[in-house]
């Protein structure tokens, strides 16, 4: 077990493609870190650089207190679970799990002991004599994990291990991985493009976009205080709503009326003509179910609800609205980058399940202004989080490393870039993200 330190890591491919840019990251011993981002963001490349299957163009990678840039994968003592499992088809499950031990010339008795222990843990005992071809997807997945845990590796690396499983199995295995990691307490780096996995598994989540780290924080911190438009749009399902607003004095002119944000959310908006307001679906509510105690913290506005999806525990209402052309283009660009497609500008509003608002009729909605974020449409920066940082009232929560004491907050970790920079770079890399394109994305 060991800490992993990435310092100014860069990856440039032979064809000039800059896949990973100046990544700084401190992964503490025993920590579970998730690398997440849309296809082609460089997360798999980063993982493969850690394990040694890709060369590091520049920067320094340390495992424990050793520099490992020049070491071959086998000398790094890491274990990895591949997206497609990469089991050895000519070996039985037993020999598959034993493979790393056999290479290390471990005595037979100890091999047997450790393989049995791993197979106990993963409930593979009755399959030990079978070949991988005769196993189901979930069983193969467990064999791949068995091969990873059988030896005392410094860290586990997972490369989208669940993306080939169906939704139900994925949920089970997710819990299983989480339990296993807690039990073994081994440093783990986990790559995924599924933000649900990212939120549920990780101690900390690293959001990557075009090879640049956007934010490193705990899942809660990412959700509540995303540093920019990209993180805000990527984390959360249904995603955060973005509403354009023009600034006039200290009030904001939106398609839904004049709103006045509390000082803690707005910060100093002078110098901005147009801003984007971000509000999660659950920040909205049917005004009739809002209690009087909190009603004053928000605004009430009228809107026509297009479609309602009733899910039992809650319901989603869709409210289409018109946005200025340039804002719409920017939101569409953001959506495209997040691997989805925006057909129209609309609000997605989560309502209480008891709400009886009808479809297709005007309704009164309430928005909790304490939960609104203000984004600079040019740079994408979350001005609310900036303001909080300046005030220092939530300084700990807003630091890039999510307040983990072990991780030193260095300025390089919250780089932001303007959303429209060099569009050509989003082209997915066949080498680093192979197989990702066909997967179903966020459920």
């Amino acid at each position: 077990m060991a800490a992993i330190t990435l310092k100014d890591i860069n990856k440039r491919y032979g064809d000039g493609f800059h896949a990973v840019k100046d990544v700084n990251l401190d992964i503490a011993d025993g920590e579970f870190v998730i690398l997440v981002g849309p296809s082609g963001c460089g997360k798999s490349t980063l993982l493969r650089m850690i394990v040694g299957l890709e060369d590091i163009t520049s920067g320094e990678l340390r495992i424990g207190d050793q520099r490992v840039n020049e070491k071959a994968p086998r000398d790094r003592n890491l274990s990895m679970v591949f997206q497609n499992y990469a089991l050895y088809p000519h070996l039985t499950v037993y020999e598959n799990i034993a493979f790393p031990l056999r290479l290390a010339k471990t005595p037979d008795k100890e091999v047997d002991e450790r393989v049995r222990r791993a197979s106990d843990l993963l409930e593979l005992n009755e399959h030990l004599d079978r070949k991988p071809a005769n196993l189901s997807g979930g069983q193969r997945q467990r064999v791949a994990m068995g091969r990873a845990i059988v030896r005392e590796a410094q860290a586990f690396l997972f490369d989208e291990p669940l993306s080939n499983l169906d939704a139900k199995l994925r949920g089970q295995m997710r819990t299983e991985i989480s339990r296993l990691q807690k039990r073994l307490g081994i440093t783990t780096v986990y790559v995924t493009h599924d933000q649900v996995e990212a939120m549920t598994l990780g101690d900390r989540v690293v959001v990557l976009r075009r090879g640049v780290v956007q934010q490193v924080a705990t899942p809660r911190e990412l959700y509540e205080n995303p540093v920019n438009l990209f993180v805000a749009g990527f984390i959360g399902s249904p995603p955060m709503n973005f509403i354009s607003a023009t600034v006039s004095g200290d009030s904001l002119h939106t398609p839904f009326g004049e709103w006045k944000l509390p000082a803690s959310r707005a910060g100093d908006l002078s110098g901005h003509d147009v801003v984007l307001l971000g509000a999660r679906p659950e920040a909205f509510e049917d005004v009739s179910v809002v209690s009087d105690a909190v009603r004053d913290h928000g605004v009430v506005f009228d809107a026509t609800i297009d479609v309602i999806e009733w899910l039992g525990n809650e319901q989603y209402a869709y409210v289409p609205y018109d946005a200025p052309e340039d804002i719409r283009a920017q939101l569409a660009e953001l959506e495209r980058e997040l691997d989805s497609e925006a057909l129209r500008t609309q609000l997605v509003v989560a309502l209480d399940a008891s709400s009886r608002i009808p479809e297709g009729a005007p309704a009164s909605l309430w928005l909790d202004l304490r939960r609104v974020h203000v984004f600079d449409p040019e740079s994408g920066t979350n001005l609310t989080v900036e303001a909080m940082k300046d005030h220092g009232d939530q300084a700990a929560a807003a630091t890039p490393n999510g307040g983990r004491p072990s991780a030193a907050a260095s300025p390089g970790e919250t780089q932001r870039e303007t959303p429209r920079e060099t569009p050509g770079e989003t082209a997915p890399r066949a080498t680093s993200e192979a197989g990702e394109g066909g997967d179903d994305t966020v459920p």
Binding site: L53, P73, S79, A86, L87, L103, K131, P132, N164
Partner: protein
């Protein structure tokens, strides 16, 4: 024919008829040679398919009689030369194909196209210069003198077949092995080679056939029993008198040399199982 059960009766009958026609067409010459090999010399010209008397004289002749020296030595040459040529070609092709399938190096396409070009080059046009060259450098009428030209025939096809097999093996397997602690060589030996076995055997059989069946090099680059292979030796059989055709002996020799090939295929066809890589990765 997985859906045989779903075929209608009429379709089934047609499949059988077509199958039998093809079998007869392919096996008739073989049956004829077998029948010839059991005929007496006087029986050869009768035009009958089956011998009037079944005799083993021809076999006796080539295995124990006058033609024994000629035949047995050539059989030894053929087996030895073909096996060595096959072995060298498979080993070389294995490394070459692995490099072609895995590595990206300049001139990769050039190697593949050159290999193909060599394969389609007419053998007969190379034989004469080769004959002169071999005589000058002392390779004429030796085993290496045949093995080297045979490699030029077997290597291209071996490289092509094997690189196709290697390409089917997911690269992740090798990377997984490396992460598990294997050196490049260990990953190749413990993961790639076992998975490529069907490819190796397929290639070996094809190479062996090419070397075993060659006639032009065999007849042109040898002059004595030191290196002359069976196909060439058959041309040197003589009858009991100079007025008698050695047809019976040739037929018997042809039957004898076919047997090892048949055995080889029967032995190895079980190894040529496709789908060995199944289960490695989730497709």
């Amino acid at each position: 024919m997985m859906d045989e059960g779903q075929l209608s009766r009429g379709t089934k009958v047609w499949w059988w008829v077509a199958g039998i026609v093809i079998l007869v067409y392919a096996l008739f010459p073989v049956a004829w040679i077998v029948s010839l090999s059991f005929k007496t010399p006087s029986d050869l010209g009768t035009g009958q398919f089956l011998p009037t008397d079944w005799v083993g004289d021809n076999y006796d002749n080539i295995l124990r009689g006058d033609a024994q020296d000629l035949f047995l030595s050539s059989l030894r040459n053929s087996v030895g030369i073909s096996l060595i040529a096959t072995f060298i070609s498979v080993v070389l092709a294995m490394f070459a194909a692995y490099a072609i399938a895995r590595l990206d190096f300049p001139g990769k396409r050039l190697i593949l196209t050159t290999a193909l070009a060599v394969a389609i080059f007419p053998v007969i046009s190379i034989v004469t210069p080769l004959f002169n060259l071999w005589r000058n450098i002392g390779l004429y009428d030796t085993w290496p003198g045949l093995i080297i030209p045979y490699l030029s025939l077997t290597l291209p096809i071996s490289i092509w077949t094997m690189s196709a097999f290697f390409r089917q093996i997911p690269w992740e397997l090798e990377q997984a092995a490396q992460v598990d602690g294997a050196t490049t060589w260990q990953a190749f030996r413990k993961v790639i080679v076992p998975l490529a076995t069907p490819g190796v055997f397929t290639t070996a059989i094809i190479s062996f056939f090419i070397a075993w069946n060659d006639f032009i090099y065999g007849i042109s680059l040898t002059s004595t029993e030191a290196a002359r292979p069976v196909p060439a030796a058959l041309a040197f059989f003589t009858g009991a008198s100079q007025f008698e055709e050695p047809t019976g002996a040739i037929a018997a020799a042809a039957v004898v040399v076919t047997i090892p090939v048949v055995i080889l295929v029967l032995l190895f066809q079980r190894r040529i199982v496709s789908g060995l890589t199944q289960g490695a990765v989730k497709g």
